[in-house]
């Protein structure tokens, strides 16, 4: 085929270069400003190729204890002695360094986690920098945030983050914690530790005092040891609802504070008076963003029955144009599934959907042979009583139900233990606010979806979590009021 033959309609590969990144073969733990060796190591794998990228350390109880001690020392020492304004300057500095090295972080994020470079480059990394920049400004202004209160830091914060937005979640956790005067022990997810470790290097460059942020890698046991540690004052967790509940039990009856940012099964509701083409884009972005590895993904689509056929036809057409493949290709829409384990879970639930009688649809085309992949998938003729509607799939799978009236849409949208997010599509303003106020969810998008901003509080109702992150409301989670 002539590469300049535009009539063929296919795009040439446009891979992002990975020449400019620097990765070590092996990473230690970042504790007390030093790189500390652990007894054992494990590999972190590129989910798009199955190849090992680097080995990282597994922190045991001993190293967790070391990290908490380092954080306590920093909290009792230098970090508490400097002013809010000076703390803020560190955060501004971190934000700038992250912006300067944005491309490197984006490439590593896509290699380690499988997300398309377009997303890591345009969303994850810039938003992470923005979070540091936003919170930097709060560090010396906290008394204005809480009328009648004199806020004080909590102390040492243990933070456990997931694999879907590795750097962004690190920023969501570290930036407010430091702005509020706390010190941190952060544990990145087992399958995506690299950008957090690169962030540790960046913190060294920023000359952040030793022990203010400690980054320890490992699996669930490392996280459990951190959460259970008697000398942390607060736990911040993002991850599954099951683990969230177990953390809640761990801190029961203690003075430890906690914020939990957990699962979801969001309803995205489209009315017959919606701008349909824009809504279709929003639905696509709502569920296929980051391969659907998003706790707030719009995984339940409610379409008004009168426009269901039209919307489904347009969705199929649009999904047919999505490119699944190399995360580092700038044209890629859907990257690799983060791990073999997650892929197996997606497949199991999709099989259940078919078995229960929902109609599956997937676009034509083949997936790469190596690595973890899953096609963007639609289920039509779904009902609340299907498992694919009840359970969080955390993959590129959309379950479509129809509804007749706004009341019915509200009742079904809220008929779930979750309550993280929701979406509404209609051109009618009064209807938007009727719907957004009636949805039991912490974040609701009207005529848009999956938008995030450091100024905008994020977090769930019901079993989707406790507490908010970001914005003014996110600060209280890191302060004694």
């Amino acid at each position: 085929m002539n590469p300049h033959d535009f009539t063929s309609g296919d795009y040439a590969p446009a891979p992002e270069s990975s020449d400019h990144i620097s990765l070590k073969k092996s990473y230690d733990l970042f504790i007390g400003g030093k790189w500390v060796k652990a007894a054992s190591k494990f590999d972190t794998i590129n989910p798009a190729t199955g190849k090992v990228i680097a080995e990282v350390s597994s922190a045991g109880k001993k190293e967790v204890n070391q990290a908490v001690k380092a954080a306590r020392k920093a909290y009792d020492g230098e970090w508490s002695s400097i002013s809010g304004a000076e703390r803020g300057k560190y955060l501004f500095r971190i934000a700038r360094l992250l912006q300067e090295r944005a491309r490197e972080f984006a490439v590593i994020e896509s290699m380690d986690g499988g997300k398309p470079i377009r997303e890591s480059r345009d969303i994850d990394v810039p938003l992470a920098a923005a979070h540091f920049f936003y919170h930097a400004g709060w560090a010396d202004k906290l008394e204005y945030a809480f009328p009648g209160k004199k806020p004080k830091p909590l102390g040492v914060v243990g933070q456990v983050i997931p694999w879907n937005f590795p750097l962004l979640m690190a920023a969501w956790k570290i930036a407010p914690a430091l702005a509020c005067g706390n010190t941190v022990v952060l544990k990145p997810a087992e399958t995506t530790p690299l950008t957090a470790l690169k962030l540790a290097e960046l913190l060294e460059d920023a000359e952040l005092p030793a022990g203010v942020v400690n980054i320890i890698t490992g699996d669930g046991e490392t996280g459990q040891a951190l959460v259970e540690h008697s000398d942390i004052d607060k736990v911040a967790f993002t991850g599954s609802t099951a683990v969230g509940k177990s953390i809640r039990r761990t801190v029961a009856g203690t003075d430890k504070r906690y914020t939990l940012e957990l699962g979801g099964k969001a309803a995205n509701i489209i009315f017959e008076d919606a701008p349909i083409n824009e809504a279709v884009e929003g639905i696509i972005n709502g569920i296929f963003f980051n391969q659907g590895h998003v706790c707030c993904a719009g995984s339940r689509l409610f379409v008004q029955e009168s426009i269901a056929d039209k919307v489904i036809r347009k969705l199929k057409k649009r999904i047919g144009t999505l490119k699944v493949g190399d995360p580092l290709d700038k044209n890629t829409d859907i990257g690799a599934i983060n791990s073999a384990e997650q892929l197996a879970r997606i497949k199991a639930l999709v099989n259940a959907g078919e078995k229960e009688g929902a109609c599956i649809w997937q676009p034509e085309g083949r997936l790469p042979r190596k690595g973890n992949w899953f096609k963007p998938t639609l289920f039509t003729d779904c009902a609340q009583s299907h498992r694919i509607v009840q359970e969080e799939i955390f993959g590129p799978v959309l379950a479509i139900q129809t509804f007749r009236t706004p009341q019915e849409a509200i009742e079904k949208a809220n008929n779930t233990p979750y309550g993280l997010s929701g979406g509404v599509w209609t051109d009618k303003g009064s209807k938007i606010f009727k719907m957004t106020t009636s949805l039991n969810a912490g974040v609701v998008w009207a005529n848009t979806y999956n938008k995030f901003d450091p100024t905008s509080p994020f977090g769930g109702y019901k079993e989707s979590g406790i507490g908010r992150e970001g914005g003014l409301h996110g600060l209280s989670a890191y302060l004694n009021l």
């Binding site: 029955e305 299907h386 509607v389 359970e391 129809t402 079904k412 809220n414």
Partner: protein, 256 residues
């Protein structure tokens, strides 16, 4: 033993499909909770329902005969029965002409039921007495006797469309009629109370009454049905409460 029911002017394809999913899998995460006896819909929705429940063992019941009033010529009412059966209904819930009954035209009631039974063919016939409009226990008893004599497979209390639906005393009268009919003819007739039975506590009172009057032979979905829409989730919540010791929330049980 549940006929999961939607009988609204607003019933649409989507609504019926979703209700069928609920009837087939009341508790999605636990397949050991068995399906409903039947789904009950209007004739126009029979085809949709039949397709949705195909192969699941759930029957499709359809109301017919100018439900809920019955105020139409017999000819058209029988045509409706044949239409619903043709669309795939295995069970027909007919209404009797209460006006004629109250006028004393008992023969006409017998005839309409017998003709419906004929029109049903293989499908089971449930005869709705609309006891709230018959008003006296004597009328309920007499209508029950007529329905059974005319060939009813089931007798059913109510349409759910008038203010007074199933009550325990009315059901007792009907159960006694069934018991007497069985004693005299040896033929078993099923019972379906419908309307207003919305929680497990009330449901168990009905079941105990069936057990005491008719015996355990009737305690299965071949001979006893509840006509209800919100009972399912209350039953599931009570089961979960039994298992976990926790009172439950509606958020955890699917509404289809």
């Amino acid at each position: 033993m549940l006929d999961v029911t939607t009988l609204e002017g607003a019933d649409s394809v989507g609504k019926v499909q979703q209700m069928c999913a609920k009837a087939m899998r009341p508790l999605p995460e636990d397949p050991s909770v068995g399906p409903a006896g039947a789904v009950c819909v209007y004739p126009r929705m029979v085809k949709v329902a039949a397709k949705a429940v195909k192969g699941s063992g759930v029957n499709v019941a359809s109301v017919a005969t100018a439900f809920p009033s019955g105020q139409m010529r017999l000819k058209e009412r029988l045509a409706e029965v044949r239409y619903a059966v043709g669309q795939g209904a295995n069970e027909i819930d007919m209404v009797i002409s209460r006006g004629q009954f109250l006028q004393g035209e008992y023969r006409a009631i017998y005839d309409e039921i017998a003709s419906c039974k004929d029109a049903c063919g293989e499908a089971h016939l449930k005869v709705i007495l609309e006891t709230g409009e018959l008003t006296t226990y004597d009328n309920v008893r007499y209508a029950s006797d007529i329905a059974m004599a005319a060939g009813a497979d089931f007798i059913k209390t109510s349409t759910g469309k008038v203010p007074i639906a199933a009550t325990l005393p009315v059901t007792l009268v009907m159960l006694q009629a069934i018991e007497d009919f069985y004693g005299e003819t040896g033929r078993m007739v099923g019972m379906k109370p419908a309307g207003g039975i919305s929680n497990a506590k009330l449901a168990i009172q009905y079941l105990i009454m069936v057990k005491e009057v008719l015996g355990e032979k009737w305690l299965n979905n071949k001979w006893f049905r509840f006509g209800a829409s919100s009972l399912t989730n209350d039953l599931l919540m009570q089961i979960r409460k039994q298992e976990t010791g926790r009172y439950q929330s509606g958020d955890y049980f699917t509404k289809d």
